[in-house]
């Protein structure tokens, strides 16, 4: 097996790159988990929803707005869009079998993908991100400003969400609605709106992930598809119903994939995704509830 020449500086750079990738996986994985906890289904449209809002950002910037001016507008649009999708498309099938919801999200993914091609055209295009790609020296290791920025934005967002869920009444209601619907209704929580709110939050998380990776990947309608698979792997690794697990899983996966791709010759860039999928398989075999997932036990 071919082992690349090793230096500590490069190792540190690879870790940084892994954390940057992992932060994006974590954001999208968290979006999947939020929807899974309340709707009990994987939202396969999460990637397309993220890309769509990133296109909205691109359009706003084309009309002369700076990235940071467009950013909050996009978040609001994403939130309203997520709530609207839940209220109009998911709600009619909400109490149906999980497979029905999953098929509806797949249909939604195709619909959004087609819409993006119609509105913005299919080809890929550069996306000017908010962060410079020049590197700065951090303790002897050159690290790009962009990597630091992406990690910082993702962490701030996850931190704000954690505070929101932990300390606000609305956050408490959202957690309650995800855990026990009947009990939630009976203590006065409007469960239907909580589910919609969850979709709004997930859309916001996706939008941020999309706007963070677009400068690296170039923007096209299929931009998030591969990342969604990584995010799915990260969510499964952490435990599909654990928000903490999604974040930890995302970071672990980002770092693991980057290091394996760099230092294990036969994996390289081409086998990164299969490696992630192999990881899903292993986790499901060995620890089906993931690192942080709850084992479902119920008294009957």
């Amino acid at each position: 097996m071919y082992i690349a020449a090793f230096t500590w500086t490069e190792f540190a750079q690879q870790i940084t790159a892994g954390v940057r990738q992992g932060a994006v996986f974590a954001g999208l994985a968290l979006a999947l988990v939020i929807i899974y906890r309340s709707t009990r289904a994987i939202n396969f449209a999460q990637g397309e929803m993220a890309t769509f809002t990133t296109f909205v950002c691109w359009s706003l910037m084309n009309h002369g707005l700076s990235f940071w001016a467009a950013f909050p507008i996009v978040l609001v649009i994403a939130f309203v869009g997520g709530v609207t999708i839940e209220r109009t498309i998911i709600r009619p099938v909400e109490n149906g079998p999980v497979i029905t919801i999953v098929i509806v999200t797949l249909g939604l993914a195709l619909l959004l993908n087609g819409l993006m091609s119609v509105i913005w055209g299919g080809g890929n295009r550069p996306f000017n991100g908010p962060f410079s790609t020049r590197t700065i020296d951090v303790g002897g290791v050159p690290i790009s400003v962009q990597d630091i920025g992406i990690v910082a934005v993702s962490f701030v967002l996850v931190g704000l969400l954690a505070l929101f869920f932990r300390f606000t009444k609305l956050g408490l209601g959202l957690r309650a609605a995800a855990l026990n619907r009947d009990s939630s209704e009976l203590v006065g929580v409007r469960v239907g709106w909580m589910l919609a709110f969850g979709w709004g939050l997930a859309a916001v998380l996706g939008a941020v992930a999309g706007m963070m990776v677009a400068p690296i990947l170039f923007l096209d309608p299929n931009m998030m598809q591969t990342i969604l698979l990584y995010a799915f792997a990260a969510a499964v690794l952490g435990g599909l119903d654990s928000p903490v697990g999604a974040v930890v899983g995302g970071l672990l996966l980002g770092v693991a994939i980057t290091l394996l791709g760099r230092y294990v010759g036969f994996i390289g860039d081409t086998l990164k995704l299969p490696t992630a999928l192999l990881l899903i398989l292993l986790v499901l075999l060995v620890k089906p509830n993931g690192l942080f997932g709850r084992v479902a036990v119920r008294r009957v």
């Binding site: 957690r175 309650a176 855990l179 026990n180 939630s184 009976l186 929580v189 469960v191 008294r299």
Partner: protein, 234 residues
């Protein structure tokens, strides 16, 4: 005026009539027992009152106003709280958070700490509710129900799964709650000892119909009630 009026309520599931023209009332401050063999319709009655089910016929009025136009999440704002037969806590949330959610319909949750002292669970407030023994979880559920400051409290088999001593304490505790929080309590229970020692009035259901009502002593001597429980003797 009665606090709760259940009037001629019928609820069908397919061909099964779970409640068949059932009527009863609860006066303010009363502890009303609802008893009957398995499948008599007791829990269905609770689910109709809390709007998880909509009755096919009849009306449910609280403080003189019909509840049928109220959504399930609006029942608690009217002043009705309940516990469940199988304990429906928010698993994975701490004891304290469970009680805080109970106060969702009110402004603020300052009362959560006091309530935890009241049910003697304050020292366990940061423990995940699902890790606690069954009897303790039932107390968490009581505290959660009290957190909404209800006027009517529905208890669905609070003695189920409790030990003999726990049931005795529960009887005393139910009466104390009624006095301390000025509650009216509707009690579904299999445990005859508990019902007979706590209830002011008892209604007996069998196969969805009300077959008797009266004080615990009256009901205990009723021929139909004895037949429903022990089987018909001819």
């Amino acid at each position: 005026m009665p606090l709760l009026e259940v009037e001629n309520v019928t609820k069908r599931f397919g061909g099964i009539v779970a409640l068949d023209g059932v009527s009863f009332v609860a006066q303010p401050g009363e502890i009303v027992g609802l008893i009957g063999p398995n499948g008599a319709g007791k829990t269905t009655a609770f689910n109709v009152i809390t709007r998880l089910y909509t009755p096919d016929e009849g009306d449910v009025r609280f403080e003189g106003k019909s509840l049928l136009g109220v959504r399930p999440s609006g029942v608690v704002t009217r002043g009705i709280a309940r516990t469940f037969q199988n304990v429906e806590l928010f698993r994975g949330m701490s004891v304290l958070d469970n009680v805080r959610v109970g106060a969702h319909a009110r402004h603020g949750d300052q009362g959560a700490d006091d309530l935890l002292y009241y049910v003697n669970l304050h020292s366990l407030r940061y423990r995940p509710a699902s890790e606690l023994p069954y009897g303790t979880q039932k107390r968490v559920e009581l505290a959660r129900a009290l957190a909404s400051s209800p006027r009517l409290l529905l208890l669905d088999e609070p003695a189920g799964g409790l030990s003999h001593e726990e049931v005795e304490q529960l009887g005393t505790f139910i009466k104390r709650m009624r006095d301390d929080y000025e509650l009216t309590i509707l009690l579904v229970e299999h445990h005859m000892g508990l019902v007979m020692s706590t209830a002011d009035r008892v209604h007996v259901l069998d196969f969805g119909r009300k077959i008797a009502e009266g004080t615990p002593a009256e009901v205990q001597g009723d021929k139909q009630v004895i037949e429903a429980y022990l089987g018909a003797t001819s």
